[in-house]
């Protein structure tokens, strides 16, 4: 499964694995909605992601906006692979999400 959700105490972690593209966008959206509905802090683990396309980037961006709008935490877990940082840069999104640090 390229996208998985772990709901722990106080926070939800969504793990993205491999290529996250239009094929997994609907699933990612569902999990983000579930995580936001839980009221917990949301963490996105990109450590094992190899590619994020536009559909994934805009879903994460929308989720971050909603999490921050309702004063819930939205952070990235672990380190962001270099290629993901490059993809974000290529998309003109160097500052998104807050706290992205390339390897």
């Amino acid at each position: 499964m390229p996208v998985t959700l772990d709901q722990g105490e106080g926070r939800c972690v969504i793990r993205l694995d491999g290529e996250i593209n239009i094929g997994s966008a609907a699933e990612l959206k569902e999990l983000l909605l579930q995580a936001l509905a839980s009221g917990r802090e949301l963490r996105i683990d990109l450590e094992h992601a190899t590619e994020l396309d536009v559909t994934a980037l805009q879903l994460l961006w929308a989720a971050e906006r909603e999490a921050r709008g309702s004063s819930r935490g939205f952070t990235l877990a672990g380190q962001v692979p270099g290629e993901i940082s490059v993809a974000m840069g290529d998309a003109g999104l160097e500052t998104f999400p807050a706290g992205v640090e390339g390897k």
């Binding site: 609907a26 396309d53 559909t55 290529d90």
Partner: protein, 449 residues
Amino acid sequence: MLDKDKFKQAFLEEAREILVELESSLLALNDNRGDNELVGRAFRALHTIKGSGAMFGFDELAAFSHNLENAFDEVRNGRLEVTSELINLSLAALDQIKAMLDEAAGGAGASGAASAEILAKLRQLTGKPETHAAEAAPSPPSAPPTATSGVTRDWQIRFCPGADLMRAGANPLLLLRELKQLGSLRIKASMAAIPPLGELDPERCYISWDMTLSTSAPREAISDVFIFVADSCELTIEPGTEPAAGPASSTAAVKSKTPKPKFPPWGRRASDTPDNASSIRVPAAKLDQFVNLVGELVTVQARLVEIAARREDPDVVAVSEEIERLTSALRENSISIRMLPIRATFERFRRLVHDLARDLHKEVELTIEGADTELDKSVIDQLNDPLMHLIRNSMDHGIEPPEIRLAASKRPSATIHLSARHSGDSVLISVADDGGGIDAEAVRNRAIE
């Protein structure tokens, strides 16, 4: 999944049409070797096939086309001359691309050895190394090698993907990366159109981009990056306020705003006029079914007329007459839908004439008249073989080698004239040549043997 398979299928159909155009351009180029417009058409056809092929996962086809496209870029930039060798090699490559498309559609496999041989010859011709699949395919649509103007200037580019761009298999990030290859790119994403998560269509691109590109490449090179998505996006490319270097440009502001999606998303071809934009592609089988149903309706309607006449009920007669009028209009309409100009069939023989002339060491020019004459599709389908045999016969036996023609005070180059014209309720199709005609003596001798 999604509409991807549908788009792939449409790509295969579209690519075949592009190949027909490409073949026509190559053959015309053979006759007019200094025609830059034809070189540009060939280049663009290859660029489209490469880019859209890569976009839909046909990496081998994309890489192969890329090599040929590069050769035509060399021609475009005056570094390579149009020769018979290049034309013949390009035609062989075109056949190979056709075989790859057939393979992708479930037909027989294209020969890898043939591809390798063509690419080796292309390398010899251009003196350039082969571009491998890994270089051409992963970043579709890859940038066409571009002539630079020598002056670096800024361009303001705004790119707003349309609603279906992602669904069609396109990837905006690849386009942005490709743009980056042209020069120094400053890029700003606009996220303003992204709706709340619950309302967000996960397969649609909501992000748009404003970019400033400093490059010495011409505007055409920038728009070429977006060639395959031109109909699925809004794109504006405007010169920056001041050139980054060099003298002030006299270029007028150029603004290209593409229309809303109407075509398959891999780009618009030069021949796509507004007329084409309002037409749709229908499988021939569906059309046949439609015509058959209209035929059955005509039969049933004739029975209704008979019954109405027998009953002498004015209401039934009135309805019957109305249905008769509508059925007649429908029948005429369905017949007209099946009428096609004979142009495509005629034009196809240019390649046959070119290849046969090369193999037989004869010089032959094919002239065409009345290509817009319309015929029923089923008739056109059946004309191909007889016309092919007539032309082959003419070239094999009727047309003399150049030296014999010269000795007979004829031009060394022979002519085959294909024509179609209306005559009463028929269409007359003729094949004429200025060769030596039938050698009656040879025919008689062969008959006696």
